[in-house]
Symmetry: C2
Subunit: 333 residues, 2 copies
DNA sequence: CCAAAATATCGAATCGTTTCTACGTCGCTT
DNA sequence: AAGCGACGTAGAAACGATTCGATATTTTGG
């Protein structure tokens, strides 16, 4: 910056004024400064600027597992929105480990990010005081219990309802749900949606049709095995998570049970390739990009609002969409 | 930091000495400092430190499309390695747009990252001078032509060879390749591998069996349509990219052509769900995590080596692995 | 055409660290 | 018992920007 000032024959304050447009600069000198900037191909040091202004124009994004295809799409929504507003994104993967998550949050604080988007991991400890006075935080996708504001997620209760209703409308009465990890809000909410609709329709919810726990492929496989061994196996299975669903499909393939003729299968999260499965999969699609975008927008609002006034927190629910394909059908007589 | 110093009754230099262990501090005072740090729950300001030391302990990662399942796995490898070494990751998505890529590189320079991992986009301009004197760069996955060092990618020539050999060994002679975008090194290299093996085996390479261009689902669909309309359609199709493959599968499903009975199909990049397709897909798997890890390691070496000495660049090729499943079989008589 | 008002520019202090130099203190040696 | 290293510690100057009060320049009005 000093070099630019010297070359343009002005002071650094003037260069700064040109750069930020905070203060008027006479056109002739402005041009000299701009020329000097291109001549030296000078780019301001964001680090130094951040130190002085107390604002880094960077946000942290913490996800539990970036290889879960759900999160990259969310991140894309965040990235686009952040970039448009002139923010950079620091990416952290907690690998579903609360300890690592906390480390990441400390690092992010150390780097003085302006705010954080957090998809917390399964057994995260209570937050509350971790953030107190550090930075604004918006929870995305996974919302800790009792966190009523500053959150963006799919409307998972509705998602669970819609899926259940679809199966009932097809004529299913014995519906099983692999509910996933009930410590995580999306799974908890989908189960709630399921329960609600079953009650509305006066259908019994059988304990043995409700399986919760971990959400890996093997868990889905094992759960499906249990269901098939029941005296009265379900005619439809909903899996609250992509990997559980794969496990279910694997077991059904092993036993050469035909979908949807012998059993209907439905999943949450709709990925590009779900259409290309055979049969193509019925699923409740989340608007992942929108989750990221909304989350980022909410966070930027929190960041840019006056520190004085009471934070205007919102809680956003993004609608989901049932995509009916060929893995669900009326139950066989 | 001043507060910590005051509370511990020492100078800020001493606090700094305790923090960095650069200079010995008497145990008794060290304890007082550490106590003060926990009492005030002080975390040093990485921004200020970076300004002073000229080192940010941050690296940039630029990918062309984070929703392409390949990259999140690479990023995971990067993230883990970076975190272990005390570096943070700034994520940038160029969305296959060279202009945006350049913007991102400027931002990263402005933020004074210590180095950058770059998976460049299709029509990136020559680099060379963009980086000159800015920061070390390691290319991952996609290597610009003539870039001989400071690169990490799969051994795509070998990948192409292995795939081709597999099909030939099954008895195929009419093999088509959807070669993808020849401006991108992975696609170019796979095609080269294909060519090499076909020549070795003295098999003709027919122009109409070689289709290059964009790499979206529709492109695969269209290319497959062309192939099927030939007087002599191929008995096997290899698709150089995941989405091309989906397009192929879609068209084959539309025409109810059975895989592998009527035609064999093979892809590159092996994803979790490839096993669960029906038929399960034969594919050449890349070691994505390792690409990220190696790339990051190479970059950290470049960063941490003495600025004076000549940079010791390496070019790493990660082996691939053919996973034979049910989408390839001997051609029907 | 000059004083006053308005506008533009400059210099210096500052953000929170690190690091260099200078100084103080302690324990040995003789 | 005094002097000399060795070892610790403190103070102050930087890093590269922003920003504020002070000063210089231009414009305006009478």
């Amino acid at each position: 910056m000093r070099d630019v000032a010297r070359l343009a024959g002005v002071s650094t304050s003037t260069v700064s004024a040109v750069l930020n447009g905070t203060v008027p600069v006479r056109p002739e000198r402005k041009k000299r400064v701009l020329d000097a900037i291109t001549a030296l191909d000078y780019l301001p040091d964001t680090i130094a600027r951040g130190l002085k202004t107390g604002k880094t124009n960077a946000i942290g994004v913490v996800v539990p597992d970036i290889t879960n295809a759900f999160y990259p799409e969310v991140i894309r929504g965040v990235e686009v929105t952040a970039q448009k507003a002139g923010y950079s994104v620091l990416l952290c993967d907690s690998n579903e480990d609360p300890h690592r998550e906390e480390e990441h949050l400390n690092t992010l604080f150390s780097r003085r990010v302006d705010g954080v988007l957090l998809a917390c991991c399964a057994d995260s400890t209570a937050y509350g005081n971790t953030f107190r006075g550090r930075f604004p935080v918006v929870f995305v996708d996974r919302v800790p219990p009792m966190m009523l504001e500053g959150t963006v997620a799919s409307d998972n209760v509705q998602a669970g309802s819609v899926a259940t209703r679809h199966l009932i409308d097809l004529g299913h009465r014995q519906i099983a749900m692999l509910a996933g990890h009930l410590g995580l809000s999306p799974h908890r909410d989908r189960l709630e949606g399921f329960r609600k609709v079953m009650q509305e329709k006066h259908l019994p919810i059988l304990d043995e049709y409700l399986i919760s726990g971990d959400v890996q492929i093997e868990d889905g496989l094992e759960a499906c095995r249990q269901l098939l061994e029941l005296k009265q196996p379900p005619t439809a299975i909903m899996a609250s998570n992509n990997k559980l669903l794969l496990g279910v499909l694997e077991l059904l393939a092993q036993r050469t049970i035909r979908v949807p003729q012998q059993i209907s299968v439905l999943g949450f999260d709709d990925y590009l390739w779900n259409r290309y499965f055979n049969p193509s999969l019925t699923a409740v699609a989340q608007n992942t990009f929108e989750i990221g975008k909304s989350g980022c927008e909410l966070l930027l609002e929190l960041i840019e609002q006056d520190q004085e006034e009471e934070p205007v927190l919102r809680s956003v629910r993004i609608p989901t969409e049932l995509r009916i394909r060929n893995s669900t059908a009326a139950p066989s007589a």
